[in-house]
Amino acid sequence: MDFVTTLVSSAYQFGDAFAFLVLSACGLAVIFGMMGVINLAHGEFIMCGAYMTVFAVNWGLPLPLAIIVGSLFAGLVGMVIERLVVRRLYSRPLDSILATWGVSLIASQGTLILFGPTMRGVGTPLGSFMVGSLSFSYYRLVLMATAIAVLLLLYLVFNKTRFGVLARATIQAPHMASALGVDTNRIYTLTFGIGAALAGLTGGIYAPTMTMIPTMGTTFIMEAFVTVVVGGADVFIGTAPAAVLLAVVKASLTSWQGQLAGQIGLLLAVIITIRLLPKGVTGFILKGRV
């Protein structure tokens, strides 16, 4: 293999791992970082987005539009669940783990009952390109671009929009925000909705590359948790660097020693992180700050 091919191939593998980590984790990270809730139904929101995307394609929508529909639908479901369940548990974060686990059981088995054990997927669009002797999928590039776009979009939403300002204010001092006229409940609902919609987006965008089954979300779960653990509470200064770090670990170990090494590398990263940086990358970056 010539140098260019090696370079392109390494970058492609890194980007692929990065995209998967970011997209797996971002919904979970928003909900955990902004609200302190561990959403164990995260995988089911991913599945929900994927299923909705496939339905939308089957109704004749073009794929990009279908993915958006899937994402919005997951976000909507998220908001409903926040209203019905999660809202009552903000003072009891451990119980919210249980409740969201319950939701996840209902969702995955409910999907099985309603739509059967499997569903025909949609094909992966866009074809492939060659570099040297290797061929690559264009769609994987779309995934990478989406991961970066999601981070960028999140940054813009939480830093440049009115909603973002209010959301951050609510997270930092909920009582004060409320005393300044912020409807904090609405902020919580919307934030949870955004987290769920991001999970739905992940599901929708990976739907063409995966098998559609009710438990499909679980393949994202480990990566999502690992990224959030390593990243800590903040999406921007935590999740994104953690995903870079883990993508390097995963991609290099995978290409060197195979998939298992990549997986084990991720877990070692977690163990090392909790010892060295108990609050994740976020804690490290915020150290010494207010």
Binding site: G36, I38, L40, V85, R88, L89, R92, P93, L94, D95, I97, L98, A99, W101, G102, V103, S104, L105, I106, A107, S108, Q109, G110, L112, I113, T218, I221, M222, F225, V226, V228, V229, L260, Q263, I264, L267, V270, I271, I274, R275, P278, K279
Partner: protein, 352 residues
């Protein structure tokens, strides 16, 4: 007088139920449990051993989570570690001459050691609250994934093959050394009495533990870690202690389970398995071992019945039950019922 002193140590504000009424009920339940094999068929006895096996893990979770305030999502990791340890030991050395009992004890010790190492990182790294839950879950999933790939022939310990996802089997059942030959404990009456005996001992032992100085501090750490620290307690050590005890109990469940079914797999540590103990304990009532014990047995038999009669709706009903419990009975169904019962009883007494 000595009897009353024993009872005094068994009772305290950390456990629901006290006084003659409670202990009479306890004795009645115990008597029924002891007589049970006389009028139940073999299947029910075997099935109940299976249920009782799990209660140790639940009680352990109650100690670390309910009493100590630290949610461990990793109980099944210790369950699995002990199960595999038991398998490896007994496949290599057999269970005759009391080696089976030694294997159980060593399996528990290995699980406890693993918990001690992991717990050291966690508690001395000051990881607490919800983050502790994620980290312990991640470790559990890691262990599951690691064990699932040990299918190859290189993964053997002595003559025991770890056997990957398919799980390890072929370990002999537990035997007790006895005069005139070992007693082989298949899942029938013998094992039933052994497990029941262990449960009674551990239940009473935990009652003493949680009402002891150690238990007091454990609850103190849950209630107000800052105050506990400002009384000079190194709270990390107590959290670690509770974690290790919880892990050892999970280990006992793991070893017994493995000997019961002569089988252990990585999926015993998967995310579903990892969540189950939390559900049992939460539904029953986590901060009381009696509530945990009753709750665990109710949930286990309830879920099994649901699976038998509810077919595919079982999982949906389980999910609903969980959500409703969390929302409507935050202390747990059994604990809330107990509190209700207690207040009714008190009111009656008061008005009389």
């Amino acid at each position: 007088m000595t009897l009353s002193r024993i009872f005094k140590r068994l009772e305290g504000p950390q456990t629901m139920g006290k006084g003659p009424l409670f202990w009479t009920a306890f004795a009645v339940v115990l008597a029924i449990a002891l007589a049970y094999p006389l009028f139940a068929d073999g299947y029910d006895v075997g099935n109940n051993i299976y249920f009782l096996n799990w209660t140790f893990m639940a009680l352990g979770l109650s100690i670390i989570w309910g009493y100590g305030g630290s949610l461990s999502f990793g109980q099944t990791a210790f369950f699995g570690v002990a199960g595999y340890s038991y398998g490896i030991l007994t496949i290599n050395f057999g269970t005759a001459y009391g080696l089976g009992v030694v294997a159980v004890l060593m399996a528990i010790a290995i699980a406890a050691l693993f918990a001690a190492i992991l717990g050291y990182f966690l508690f001395f790294g000051r990881i607490s609250g919800i983050f502790l839950g994620i980290v312990t879950l991640s470790v559990t999933l890691a262990l599951e994934r690691f064990m699932a790939q040990t299918a190859g022939p290189q993964w053997t310990v002595g003559s025991a093959r770890l056997n990957g996802f398919n799980g390890m089997s072929g370990m002999p059942p537990l035997t007790l050394p006895w005069f005139g030959g070992d007693i082989v404990l298949y899942p029938d009456i013998g094992l039933y009495y052994l497990v029941l005996g262990l449960l009674v001992i551990i239940y009473l032992g935990l009652r003493i533990l949680v009402n002891s100085k150690f238990g007091n501090v454990l609850v103190a750490v849950r209630e107000n870690p800052e105050r506990a620290e400002m009384l000079g307690y190194d709270i990390r050590k107590y959290q670690l202690g509770g974690f290790v005890i919880g892990a050892a109990l999970a280990g006992l469940s793991g070893a017994l389970y493995t000997s019961w079914g002569q089988y252990i797999t990585p999926s015993s540590m998967g995310i579903t398995s990892a969540a189950l103990p939390i559900i049992w304990v939460a539904v029953g009532g986590r901060s009381d071992i009696t509530a945990t014990l009753i709750g665990t047995l109710i949930v286990l038999s309830g879920f099994q019945a649901l699976t038998i009669y509810g077919s595919q709706y079982a999982l949906v009903v389980m999910g609903l039950l969980l959500v409703c419990t969390v929302l409507l009975a935050p202390k747990g169904l059994v604990a809330n019922a107990g509190i209700l019962l207690g207040s009714l009883f008190n009111r009656k007494n008061g008005s009389a």
